[in-house]
Symmetry: C2
Subunit: 291 residues, 2 copies
């Protein structure tokens, strides 16, 4: 099944198929391609609902995964294809960082490969390849929209580090996304160990650069609003030290930002939590994507 | 979360909790215990629907996984908890073999650890620990029924090697199971490479012993019937060489056995196939479990 090359309208964009699996009447496909923004090969997965095979152009939900994940975890574990199939929404899930033996890395699970934090790195050695913000904002949607039967309606969601990425991308680019959502996002990374470690490495000691990547700081001063849904388990092992949803709630309150944040009793940080509420998030995005 | 010990009514049965995750209002729990039948430690996962926490005794679906799987794969990838939660059914998924550094193994993925084939091995070195047939038929349900709020209604399902196991267990013990189902089962193992390799190693060269573990041979001569549902993808890469559903269909036709076998266009051997049709299987079992 793998190996066939797809030439897109842009001759520079060449996709190599890694796998194709039928799922709920549609297809889950994984691809590798050379990402100019990252200056290395990159992988992503896409769920194409059955409507996309019937000549219809479907809207796209971008999903950003959390620490240590690849493009596969969400497709395997979230149970999203069932709902996306019914609603006629494509889902695109990129890998969480540039990867390769010649790409900068770190021994920690929370820095380097698998931990791109959806920023454009400013500091060596990271600034050579770690430009996940630009990749997800520009190159990836351009590639998707040039290659697959999708329209230009986009929403964005993610989990943990990816929830942080989804909120930041939507807050800084409100015209690009119809809606945003997150599960257990790192809501105030400038004030938690994961964020401080990553931002120090990727962005440097000058905290002025950090504010561009902090959802709570951005939400407090946003002037254009993107409808936003957040779910957070109250048994999440990272709730108090790393996630700090109360900072996001406070920012939304200050700025009357359209944030719905649900705390879910007994749920933890795992994909079992995501699977339990992914239908709510897809229905939320569908309302905004199909307006 | 791990580490607490649960003493069951039988003092010999001691469960060690590996993990607990809330899922669709219920809980996915993983346990280790000393399995007398296997004479080693064994792992299983159980999904307990919310009804089980409300004083209700729920029926149980046993799920047998395929080659290389552990007790985790089904819970991660099948999307079954959503439906089991709505229907009030517990699901128990054991590991696919005894495991450990002192347990016999083989370099192949299709023999030894992760490949117990749900038989009672007769040949050394396998006959020391590989008694998965007895474990799944007797010790595991006794442990489940002594420990959790479940009733004595049982059904059984599985995938590939586990589909073979589910069909064989139901065919040989029709009074023990209300219903049986399988995805992509190894339907006629005495006539395929996977089955021949495993049965030669576990059961020996004498093929008389093999017939007790071949669903097509058993279905042909069954005198008591268990309602049975099978789904098979027609793009399954193992369809012709290993799975041979046509042998099961022929046996059912000969014996007017209540088999419904659906061929699904474009679906392969993966969990994406299982996830796409697991709701059908759970609804099928629920009809028989709640009679």
């Amino acid at each position: 099944m793998g190996g066939q090359n797809i030439r897109t309208k842009d001759a520079n964009m060449s996709l190599k198929t890694i796998s194709v699996n039928k799922s709920f009447g549609g297809q889950i496909k994984r691809y590798a391609h050379h990402a100019n923004t990252l200056d290395c090969d990159m992988r992503f997965a896409i769920y194409l609902p059955p409507q996309a095979a019937n000549g219809q152009k479907v809207p796209v939900l971008y999903w950003l995964s959390g620490l240590t994940c690849t493009e596969e975890n969400f497709m395997h574990k979230a149970g999203a294809a069932r709902v996306a199939s019914a609603l006629g929404i494509a889902i695109v899930a990129p890998d969480t960082s540039p990867r390769g033996t010649d790409i900068a890395d770190d021994d920690g699970y929370d820095l380097g490969q698998g931990a791109g934090f959806y920023v454009n790195a400013l500091q060596p050695p990271w600034n050579r390849h770690y430009h996940m913000y630009d990749y997800v904002l520009n190159e990836l949607p351009q590639l998707i929209e040039a290659t697959f039967p999708v329209n230009d309606k986009r929403s964005i969601s993610g989990h943990s580090m990816g929830g942080h990425g989804a909120l930041v991308l939507a807050l800084r680019n409100p015209a690009r996304f119809q809606s945003a959502s997150a599960f257990s996002p790192i809501s105030n990374p400038v004030n938690c160990p994961w964020g401080q470690k990553a931002f120090t490495a990727y962005l440097g000691e000058d905290k002025a650069a950090w504010a561009d990547y902090d959802a709570s700081l951005l939400m407090q001063k946003a002037t254009q609003f993107v409808p936003t849904l957040v779910d957070q388990g109250d048994a999440d092992e990272f709730l108090e030290t790393q996630l700090k949803p109360e900072m996001l709630e406070a920012a939304a309150r200050t700025n009357t930002y359209p944030l719905e944040l649900n705390r879910r009793e007994g749920y933890d940080h795992s994909y079992y939590f995501i699977a339990s509420f992914i239908e709510d998030h897809l229905l939320f995005h569908a309302r905004h994507l199909t307006l």
